[in-house]
């Protein structure tokens, strides 16, 4: 193999030459834990005088009465508000800047979603409301279901699962129920080595043996190898399309044919649907069951607790196994929840799933319309390819095929100077961006995975390009600066290894945490 020794020529925009500057230093850089701020007797509430007969709790509860409440923080109302408001100023958020996190689709959460979900009839709806009085909510679910079925080209759907991995779990439970109904659950699920880690975990949790399918030199499914692996004991292949290197599996119909010939099913991880919506439909290219991530593709909040939502869509052959209840239309045209589902895998989530997210996703779909959704996909792909074109001289591009909504570089050029993908990701924080996805997918050594989404304007993309080019230059000229980043944050580089080997998960008073009191945060 030829070795590249020349450092790539990288011109950096003058605005980023030198060390980036923060606007100001927060006055509250060293906010303590809420437990440390506590002092006995402080209260943030005052109850009205008791106007009903007092009850002796001890008599009522006997030995179950708890008198020692443990270490509960005691603070005044303004102290609580200031504490959490200060913490919130340390957050990075999509409303502050770009999250180029590949595979995560961190897109803008349109304000229209929030406006709609706060309408009184929706926000105040109760899950125990009688069906006759919840027709509006059921209509929202039905309309969203129909839209998602149309977008995916599938036949039926459940909105219950709470997020992507939960959707995978539900989908593979359905696969298992399907095979069991035919007399043999089968033993094996095939997962490519480029898959999200949740795929093999899902298969294992549902009781399947995981067979690892090695990608070919292009990072795609190796058809010959797949053909060799698929047998009558194979329950399904779990595939992400476009793959985790952002490339469309152009042989997807052949992949489906190989599986179907042996009675196996094709599961699609819908994590990368933002590259497909309005352009092609999994249902049309042979997928039998898939999940969607409303918090990725359909602009509901992602990260920070979401909550997520991972609907699972399937073909008619899997419909009997969907979780119950499902929304059905009665003869009189009204909507109802049907529990009469003898082959269902059961309920996978309390009530009906994360309903608030259905409202937001539907608002997104209706606000965009079919043409808008298609435009969204085109813009997401355009943005990723813009970054690819602008950065391909600064970073190694391990796969040359045209990419869709995300692009994977590697740290190969910078690693020669001892600068790894994680170092550059941390340095990106100094430039005001969230890091890209580091070290994933695993098929690329030192992966730097970038997904800008359609939300970013050219101006924002250029800021990211300039920052990354400047970092590439720093990696060549001053690698130590990048290896020790971040420098402008409240805390500097954390010891991730010690955190994993000896985690401190619970506050047990200052003496026991092993942390020094008043460790100076880096003022910068």
């Amino acid at each position: 193999m030829s070795t590249m020794t020349a450092v790539p020529e990288v011109e950096a925009a003058t605005k980023f030459v030198g060390t980036p500057k923060k606007v100001s230093t927060h006055v509250n850089q060293n906010e303590g834990l809420i437990f440390e701020k506590s002092s006995p007797g402080k209260k943030a509430y005052r109850l009205a005088e008791l106007d009903v007969p007092a009850i002796d709790a001890k008599k009522l509860l006997g030995p179950a009465l708890r008198t020692d409440l443990g270490a509960m923080p005691e603070l005044s109302e303004i102290e609580i508000i200031r504490h959490f408001t200060r913490l919130s100023t340390w957050n990075y958020a999509i409303d502050l800047g770009m999250y180029p996190l590949g595979s995560c689709t961190m897109k803008y959460n349109g304000r229209v979603n929030e406006a709609v979900s706060r309408l009184e009839g929706i926000a105040e709806a109760h899950p125990y409301q009688p069906q006759a009085l919840a027709q509006g909510c059921l209509q929202i679910m039905k309309t969203l279901e129909d839209a998602l079925i149309e977008i995916t080209g599938m036949d039926a759907i459940t909105l219950q699962p709470a997020a992507g991995a939960h959707g995978e779990f539900t989908g593979i439970l359905m696969v298992r129920a399907y095979h069991e109904s035919r007399g043999n659950a089968r033993r094996k699920i095939i997962v490519p080595d480029s898959a999200h880690g949740t795929n093999p975990a899902t298969a294992a949790v549902v009781g399947y043996e995981v067979a690892n399918l090695k990608s070919n030199a292009q990072g795609m499914v190796d058809l010959a190898e797949l053909e060799r692996m698929v047998d009558e004991d194979t329950a399904a292949l779990m595939l992400t399309n476009p793959s985790t290197i952002g490339v469309f599996e152009s042989d997807i119909h052949k992949i489906a044919d190989i599986l179907h010939a042996k009675g196996a099913l094709l599961y699609m991880d819908g994590a990368n649907m933002n590259a497909l919506v309005g352009k092609t439909r999994p249902g049309d290219f042979g997928v039998d069951v898939m999940h969607l991530n409303l918090h990725k593709t359909f602009s509901t909040p992602h990260g920070g607790g979401g909550p997520g939502s991972g609907p699972v869509a399937c073909k008619a052959i899997l419909e009997p196994f969907l979780p119950k209840p499902i929304v059905v239309t009665e003869d009189d045209g009204s909507l109802a929840l049907s529990f009469d589902r003898p082959q269902s895998v059961g309920r996978v989530r309390i009530f009906y799933g994360n309903f608030g997210m259905f409202v937001r996703a539907l608002a997104y779909i209706l606000a965009n319309g079919p043409d808008g959704l298609r435009q969204t996909t085109e813009d997401a792909v355009l943005n990723a390819n813009y970054l690819r074109a602008k950065l391909k001289n600064a970073f190694e591009l391990p796969f040359q095929q045209p990419s869709l909504h995300e692009v994977v570089f590697s740290d190969k050029l910078q690693a020669k100077n001892g600068v790894k993908t994680g170092d550059m990701g941390k340095r990106l924080i100094d430039y005001g961006f969230h890091a890209y996805t580091v070290s994933f997918p695993l098929v690329v050594s030192g992966a730097m995975m970038i997904e800008p989404t359609e939300s970013e304007s050219r101006e924002e993309l250029d800021l990211l390009v300039d920052a990354l080019k400047q970092i590439a230059r720093e990696a060549a000229e001053n690698p130590e600066l990048v290896r020790t980043a971040p420098h402008s944050t409240r805390l500097q580089r954390l010891d991730e290894t010690a955190a994993a080997r000896k985690p401190v998960l619970r506050w047990r008073g200052q003496a026991e945490t092993g942390l020094e009191v008043g460790t100076p945060a880096k003022e910068w």
Partner: protein, 132 residues
């Protein structure tokens, strides 16, 4: 780091050292360096029957969790319990840090050894895989 000529190596980056009807298994220096700081090792249990080419445990680093595959079949006789509290030993010296020791019933079980790589073939394999 030089790879011991006394060992045999897998393409999944485990090493095996066989003496008579017993042996020990570890991961290679290349494996530990590409994984980065190792934070947890999932070992088999004493008495487990491991099968050549099949999963026997996993190793977790700050980057990823990787499955481990047995180079040859056998019965686990000893596990390196010190790794539970000091997984970093693998990073310090992967070639000398065994994960488990095993016995085989007879030499017939060792035929799969012939399919494994010797030190120089493994080094070539690694350099092809990494491209440098």
């Amino acid at each position: 780091m030089a790879y011991s000529a006394a060992y045999k190596y897998t393409k999944t980056h485990e090493w095996v050292c066989v003496e008579g009807l017993a042996g020990s298994v570890g991961i290679t220096d290349y494996a530990q360096s590409s994984l980065g700081d190792i934070v947890f090792v999932e070992l088999p249990k004493i008495g487990d029957k491991v099968q050549a080419g099949k999963n026997f445990g996993s190793v977790e680093s700050v980057k990823a969790v990787s499955d481990l595959y047995a180079p040859v079949s056998g019965t686990v006789t000893e596990i390196n319990e010190a790794l539970n509290s000091a997984p970093e030993t693998i990073n310090a010296d992967a070639n000398l840090t065994w994960l488990y020791k095993f016995d085989v019933a007879d030499a017939g079980e060792l035929t799969s050894l012939a399919t494994l790589l010797d030190a120089s073939a493994y080094e070539t394999f690694v350099s092809e895989e990494t491209g440098h």
